[in-house]
Every structure is written in structure tokens, then in C-alpha cells.
């Protein structure tokens, strides 16, 4: 089967949504061609592969594109079910819980956080930060429930929720520099703080996530 399976990832080094996908590919031990995109000058391949949103990440598997990071994560788990670890649990109820929290992260953490960074008004920014921190607080509770004392949301190994949140870490850690609020601290979110240390120590995280100050030099 060598040479039959072709994976191409259209992405940018700084995108947390691309990081989510890279994490999944690395954890599954899948090789892929990383095709760095210039979002100011979008390639024909990107426009043809994601005509609706024209965004990254796009995973192209044997010529067929899959778009939207969480859709790609589920696809990788589905298409490579017998390869490497599984990200979604087997039990339907636990799968529903994992999907709920991934949706929560995208709706309640990511959206206000984007507002906090891009809003022009101080009031809007402050509201965005407030909502973001509230979401982090809720996720502390979610971690307690989902992990049941184990290292990850997924239990003993990295799961769907870990990937969805883990991909965002470089950006979340940059929050303090840019808006003066720590997203994770020992007083309010001790479990998440410990989870962050554990997650960033993973080999896959070191390769897939650009945890570096170089992110802060990007235009907002």
C-alpha cells in the first residue's frame, strides 16, 4: 500500500486551527506534505479546495479536500480508525460529551477571544476578555468531569477535546502579553494549568504548535 495514500495539508505556521490538524496527524503517526500558504496571495489550490471559506486548514486526502479544523479532526479519526490512537471514545454518550465541549470551545472561547484581539473599542475588548475567561473557568470544570482524574480530557491519552484546545495554546498563552490577563492560573484553573504543562511536553505538541514569542510579532 506504500505510495497509495497521499495527504497534503494546506496551512500556515501560525494558525491554531492548522495546529489542531498537525497535532492529530502527528499523534496518528501519519506522514503528510505540508504546503505553507500565503493568505495575502491565496493559491489556486487553496481557492479550488475551499471555495466557500477560502481558509486554512484544508486537508487533501488522495485529491479530496476536507475543510474546517474540527471536521478534519473527525475525518482523520474516521478514515484512519485502525491507525494509531483514536481521538473519540467508543461509547456514544462519551462521544456526545466530547463533541459538546469542542463546540463549546469554538463558540464560547474562540469567538470572544477573537473579539478581544480585533475589536476597536476598549469596551468590546474588555467584554471579549471577560467572556473568554468565563469560558476558561467552565472548561476547568469540564476537564475535571471528562478526565476523571486522568491526565487528559480524553482520559489516558489525548482526545478530541485535548486537540481542539491544545491547538489554541500558543495563542492563549500570548493573551497575557497582549491584554494583561492570564488565561490559566493556579488559583482559578489549577487543573488546566497542569494539563497545559502535560500537553506542551508532548512530542506532537513540540512539532505541531508554534509555542514561541515569534507569534507575538504577527500583525493583529
Amino acid at each position: 500500500m506504500a505510495g497509495e495514500d497521499e495527504l497534503k495539508l494546506l496551512g500556515t505556521w501560525a494558525s491554531p486551527w492548522v495546529s489542531r490538524v498537525k497535532l492529530a496527524l502527528h499523534l496518528k503517526g501519519l506522514s503528510y506534505e505540508n504546503v505553507e500558504q500565503d493568505l495575502d496571495n491565496k493559491s489556486d489550490l487553496l481557492l479550488a479546495s475551499n471555495p466557500v471559506h477560502k481558509k486554512v486548514p484544508v486537508l487533501i486526502h488522495n485529491g479530496k479536500p476536507i475543510c474546517e479544523s474540527v471536521v478534519i479532526l473527525e475525518y482523520i479519526d474516521d478514515a484512519y480508525g485502525t491507525v494509531g490512537p483514536s481521538f473519540l471514545p467508543v461509547d456514544p454518550y462519551e462521544r456526545a460529551i466530547a463533541r459538546f465541549w469542542v463546540d463549546y470551545i469554538d463558540q464560547k472561547l474562540v469567538i470572544p477571544w477573537k473579539v478581544a484581539f480585533t475589536a476597536d473599542g476598549e469596551e468590546e475588548k474588555t467584554e471579549g476578555i471577560k467572556q473568554m475567561l468565563a469560558a476558561v473557568h467552565t472548561l476547568e470544570g469540564a476537564l475535571k468531569e471528562c478526565s476523571k482524574g486522568k491526565p487528559f480530557f480524553g482520559g489516558d491519552s489525548v482526545g478530541y477535546v485535548d486537540l481542539a484546545l491544545g491547538g489554541l495554546l500558543a495563542f492563549l498563552q500570548g493573551t497575557e502579553e497582549l491584554c494583561g490577563s492570564k488565561p490559566f492560573d493556579i488559583a482559578n484553573t489549577p487543573l488546566l494549568l497542569a494539563w497545559v504543562e502535560r500537553f506542551t511536553a508532548l512530542d506532537a505538541a513540540k512539532v505541531a504548535c508554534q509555542m514561541s514569542a515569534s507569534w507575538l510579532s504577527l500583525p493583529r
Binding site: Y93, R99, Y104
Partner: protein, 233 residues
């Protein structure tokens, strides 16, 4: 009537997301207790079952709550995988395409048509109507690609994406009645226009989807309660 264990659905009659779940449960042939919620006076049961978002729908199966309509639909297909019809296709790429478009509908279609209803000026309303039409043009493309000449997004019978889009149709009809916006123009989106009629004619839709007039009455009640600068017809 014995159900598949204890199954309750917390809902609200005109919520398209609740309708979506009811459609899914109909496809699976699952019987359940439906409990109408007053969203202006939320019940203990709702607040306990969905403490994070405090919204409907919530499916409570054997005492365990599942929230978020698309999560519930996937749950139903998985937990009752041997029952009724399959909602998801078997092929991973087709599943990914269905998930992509379902997320698109919730991100782009719902806010656009709700925006038409809530708009304070004619200008704002026209803007939202334009947005909705762009979304429907994209869904026309999606239908052509997914259906491959068959009657539904999923092929011969309704599937995930049909439910994801279809649950909104009665609201689109309500808004057409209230504000005169034409969503399905046979000239511009012929495939989608034909699909919409076909979908509304299914036994499932006839059993589960409320009349557009129910949505109109609800919208007018909301306008009266919260006030509106422009009135509907």
C-alpha cells in the same frame, strides 16, 4: 408505549434546532416523551440538564442529558445504529462533507434569517436578506455535488445534511410571509427549490415540522414583547 429506555426531549415548538432533533428521532423510529419548555421561565429540569448553555433541545436518555442539536443527531445515529434509517453515510469523506455543510448552515443561514426578523431598519433587513441568498446559492452548489442527481442531499432518502438544512424551512416560509423575502427562486436555485418541496412533503416533515404560521405568531409575540421599529405584514 415502551420506548428504548427512558427518553425525554426538552424542546420548544418553533425552535428549528428542536425540529431537527425530532426529525432525527423520527428517522430512527424512536419514541420519546416530549416536554415543551418556557424559555422565558426556564424549568429546573432544563437548567439542571443544560447548565452550560441553558438552551433547548436537550435529549435525556436514561437520565443522561445530551445537548446541542447536531451533537444529539449524531448521538441518536450512533446509539440507535441498528434501528430505523441511517442518518450519516458510511464513507468518511461523505461524512466530512455533510458535517462541513451542517456547520455552515448553523453559522451562516440561521443568523441571516433571524437577522431579517430582528432588523431595525429596512436597510439592515435588505442586507440580511442578501446574506441569506448568498448562503442559499452555496447550498445549491452543495446540493448538486452531494445529491449526484438523487432527490435528497444524502441521496435516495433524507440524511444528516437534509435534516440540518430542512429544519429551517418553516422559518424561511414564515419570514417570506412576514417580510416578502423570496428564498427559493426557481430561476436562481432550482435544485434547492425542488428539494424544499420534496422535503416538506416527506412523512417525517409532515409529522414533525410546525406550520409556518405558528412561527409567524411566535415572531409577532417576540416583536410585541421586545419592540421593533419596523413591522411585518
Amino acid at each position: 408505549m415502551a420506548g428504548e429506555g427512558d427518553i425525554k426531549l426538552l424542546g420548544m415548538v418553533v425552535s428549528p434546532f428542536v425540529v431537527r432533533v425530532r426529525m432525527a428521532l423520527h428517522r430512527k423510529g424512536v419514541s420519546y416523551e416530549y416536554v415543551e419548555q418556557d424559555l422565558f421561565n426556564k424549568s429546573e429540569l432544563l437548567l439542571r440538564s443544560n447548565p452550560v448553555n441553558k438552551k433547548v433541545p436537550v435529549l435525556i436518555h436514561g437520565g443522561k442529558p445530551i445537548c446541542e442539536s447536531l451533537v444529539i443527531v449524531q448521538y441518536a445515529d450512533e446509539v440507535w445504529s441498528g434501528k430505523g434509517a441511517s442518518i450519516f453515510p458510511a464513507d468518511p469523506h461523505e461524512r466530512a462533507v455533510a458535517r462541513f455543510w451542517a456547520a455552515y448552515v448553523d453559522d451562516k443561514l440561521f443568523p441571516a434569517y433571524i437577522g431579517i426578523m430582528k432588523a431595525a431598519t429596512e436597510e439592515a433587513r435588505a442586507e440580511k436578506a442578501k446574506e441569506a441568498l448568498v448562503v442559499l446559492a452555496n447550498l445549491e452548489e452543495a446540493f448538486a455535488q452531494c445529491s449526484k442527481g438523487k432527490p435528497f442531499f444524502a441521496g435516495d432518502s433524507v440524511g444528516y445534511l437534509d435534516l440540518a438544512v430542512g429544519c429551517n424551512l418553516f422559518w424561511l416560509e414564515a419570514i417570506r410571509k412576514m417580510f416578502g423575502v423570496t428564498f427559493f427562486d426557481v430561476g436562481k436555485t432550482p435544485l434547492l427549490a425542488a428539494w424544499a418541496e420534496r422535503f416538506a412533503g416527506t412523512e417525517m416533515a409532515r409529522e414533525v415540522v410546525p406550520d409556518a404560521d405558528t412561527a409567524v405568531v411566535f415572531a409577532k409575540k417576540l416583536q410585541a414583547r421586545f419592540g421593533s421599529n419596523t413591522s411585518a405584514k
